[in-house]
């Protein structure tokens, strides 16, 4: 579904991603871990099409299309969803109004009829149950004054409504209390199908107890320096990143 080949990207002339390759098939869950500043959010942003990042080398194909050619909104409409590490606030715009605009623009792109108010609200109700989000939160302005955890939950709620084929969760677990973490993970799992794939960016093995990854990758200094099965996450939790850093500098060019 997603194929990243030798991806290099820089911001304001500073290279951040330095040759990332990754293959993701439908139905798979990939976890990306790595120290602060290693480029995890950058990778997510580049995939989502944030324009400050310049792709200097490499290719990305998504469901057979050249992803890098598409505008950010078209990537979203093709089914790429990014749950932001820091969701922004949009004062005065209710979540409901925002999501309805989003859903209908996505539908239009796919040649589907727009959802009328009743159908849309039915969809909202159904998804609200899934992530156990409070209706009151959704009638408020988007993310405005939301607590850190509420913002993260709202990201997953939006994901549930938009039903993307590739979801990238950037540290969705940070800021969530234990109960919320379970709820969110449970939501993600319920949304999992054979057709869609998930990338989970996290610092903590704890989340991976709930969302079980097929692969774990370690991103360090703009490269994927190690990949493995879910046990790798446990090993990282135990030993930290130093041994990986050493391994890398041992073989460094």
């Amino acid at each position: 579904m997603l194929s990243i080949k030798n991806l290099h990207a820089s911001i304001e002339g500073t290279p951040i991603l330095k040759g990332i390759s990754l293959e993701i098939k439908p139905g798979e869950v990939h976890a990306i871990m790595g120290p602060n500043g290693s480029g995890k959010s950058t990778l997510a942003s580049v995939l989502a099409g944030r324009e400050e990042y310049e792709v200097t080398e490499g290719e990305v194909s998504f469901k057979g299309k050249d992803l890098l050619e598409l505008s950010p909104e078209d990537r979203a409409r093709e089914g790429v969803f990014l749950a932001f590490q820091y969701p922004v606030e949009i004062p005065g715009v209710s979540s409901t109004n925002f999501l309805r605009t989003a859903v209908n623009q996505v539908r239009e792109y796919r040649g589907q009829e727009p959802l009328d108010a009743v159908k849309f609200l039915t969809l909202m109700k159904e998804k609200m149950k899934l992530v156990e989000i409070d209706q009151k939160l959704l009638s408020r302005a988007l993310n405005e004054g939301f607590s850190g955890g509420e913002k993260k939950k709202n990201e997953i709620f939006q994901m549930a409504v938009l039903e993307p084929s590739l979801s990238i969760l950037d540290e969705t677990d940070s800021g969530l209390d234990i109960d919320a973490l379970k709820v969110v993970a449970n939501g993600v799992n319920q949304l999992k199908t054979k057709e869609n794939a998930t990338i989970v960016v996290t610092h903590y093995q704890r989340l991976l107890d709930y969302i079980v990854p097929d692969f774990v990758h370690v991103l360090y200094n703009g490269r994927i320096v190690k990949s493995g099965a879910k046990e790798l996450a446990l090993e990282l939790e135990e030993k930290g990143y130093d041994w990986i850093k050493e391994e890398v500098s041992g073989t460094a060019v």
Binding site: R50, E73, R77, F81, I90, P91, F98, T101, A102, Q105
Partner: protein, 481 residues
């Protein structure tokens, strides 16, 4: 230039939609301004002597006045002798009701999306259509008159209800009030008149639609609204003008009188031609709007969505004379390209326990300048009066300006006056967040701007609110790609 600005720049360059004009045979005053012109206008309108005298007095006063220079706007000096002060479509015979109006004229309004056909009209809005210097027709007049509500053109009111006009004309905005009000008083050609009798809740929105068509002609209309004890009316005003290279002057006066427990809600969606992308042409909108809450427990509420005009100078105000009276001002002012707006309000607290609320949302894009100017005055007698002002500015791009000039003048120590102000920028990250959910940048800006202006838009009657939302999006369209 950052991507952010590039996006916004593209988004802010949409063409004006109502820029067309039509040719019709017109009845025009000669160009220029002097006492004879005023006599000419008055004669044309078959006015009584008192009306002419009132005009001449205003004119003589205007001659002694200087054009104000304190607003934060720049425009070349207006040559008042080069303008035409009256232009009206020639109608073969005076229509006695809307069905007799020349269908060609009605077509102008159809094209603007304003149907003057009572059958086709959405229920609940009565319209008075003013084209250049005259009212071409008022609909739903009969329905209203059964309730005793008078809603007609100003000229008609002068003839049919002289005692009301004499009593209230100039009582809120005196002919000598300011330069443009004096000019208007001398040369005003038409406008709307509205009288709500005691105890009547006007069952439909009353609306005036102003259209400038003729070139080189100023538009000077007057609106007078009188709400008797315990009455209620909601009044809407809309306006457009053709796209022309030269600037055109619009100097209107609106007066509102609210008696005891009366409530008047006045909403404007101003969409005069703003000039082109380079700042050529556009309307100079120099308007005096003022209401007096004369009776106890009365209320006047101004809501304005200002998107058009090259230069705007406008401060809808409330004189809170009655005890417990309430004044409100809700405003969204958008400026784009080279538009300049200096707008705000005055709340003058005279009575006890008076309340005022000011919510101003400025949006500046392109090279425009947007100023809020507001005055809150609390007089000696106004014990326990309260004011709350919220003035927000939203900037799109880095070539525009937003300015706030609050004036607070308090003569009673029990008064409580609060002022809050914020300035923000539409963030690239907000637009990207929307994009990431599948929303294109243009709709993202529309969402963000409408969210920002929500508190004001919520004050508008339903039909108007939708219109205003679209207009906001349209005005800013082209600033994001």
């Amino acid at each position: 230039m950052s991507k952010d600005n590039e996006i916004l720049e593209e988004f802010t360059s949409k063409e004006y939609e109502h820029g067309w004009s039509v040719n019709y045979e017109a009845d025009e005053a000669p160009i220029g301004l002097n006492e004879d012109i005023i006599r000419w206008i008055s004669a044309k309108k078959e006015e009584p002597q008192w009306m002419l005298d009132w005009r001449l007095k205003a004119y003589r006063h205007w001659e002694t006045m200087e054009e104000p220079t304190w607003p934060n706007v720049r425009y070349p000096k207006i040559d008042y002798q080069s303008l035409r002060y009256y232009s009206a479509p020639k109608q073969k015979k005076k229509p006695s009701n809307i069905n007799e109006v020349d269908p060609e004229l009605l077509k102008i309004y159809d094209r603007l999306g304003i149907s003057l056909n009572e059958q086709k009209r959405l229920q609940g809005i009565a319209v008075d259509a003013v084209l250049d210097s005259v009212s071409v027709g008022t609909i739903f007049k009969d329905t209203l008159s059964k309730l005793g509500v008078i809603f007609c053109s100003f000229s008609e009111a002068v003839k049919e209800h002289p005692e009301l006009v004499k009593k209230y004309l100039g009582s809120v905005v005196p002919a000598t009030d300011n330069y443009f009000a004096a000019l208007n008083s001398a040369v005003f050609s038409d406008g709307s008149f509205c009288y709500i009798p005691k105890g009547v809740r006007c069952p439909m929105e009353l609306s005036t639609y102003f259209r400038i068509n003729a070139a080189n002609t100023g538009q000077f209309e007057r609106t007078l609204i009188i709400a008797e004890d315990q009455s209620y009316v909601s009044y809407l005003e809309g306006c457009t003008a053709p796209q022309r290279d030269e600037n055109q002057l619009h100097a209107a006066v609106v007066e509102i009188y609210a008696a005891e427990k009366a409530e008047v809600k006045y909403s404007t969606v101003q969409n005069w031609y703003p000039g082109d992308k380079n700042g050529k042409g556009g309307i100079y909108n120099f308007v005096t709007k003022r209401g007096i809450c004369a009776g106890n427990h009365s209320k006047i509420s101004w809501t304005q969505v200002e998107t058009g005009s090259a230069v705007t100078w406008k401060y809808p105000s409330c004189i809170l004379k009655g005890d417990h009276s309430i004044g409100e001002f809700y405003s969204v002012a958008v400026t784009n390209n080279y538009q300049q707006a200096d707008t705000g309000t005055k709340m003058i607290h005279i009575g006890k326990n008076t309340r005022s609320r000011i919510v101003s949302k400025g949006i500046s894009a392109g090279h425009s300048q947007n100023s809020y100017r507001g005055q809150v005055q609390v007089m000696k007698r106004a014990t326990n009066s309260r004011n709350f002002s919220q003035c927000d500015s939203l900037l799109m791009g880095d070539k525009c300006g937003a300015h706030t000039f609050p004036y607070i003048d308090i003569h009673n120590s029990t008064a409580k006056v609060e002022h809050e102000a914020t300035t923000s920028k539409i963030g690239e990250d907000q637009i990207f967040y929307c994009n990431q959910r599948g929303i294109d940048s243009e709709d993202a800006v529309a969402l963000i701007v409408n969210g920002y202006a929500k508190e004001v838009l919520n004050q508008l009657p339903m039909e108007f609110a939708v219109e205003a939302q679209k207009l906001l999006a349209l005005t800013l369209e082209g600033s994001v790609g």
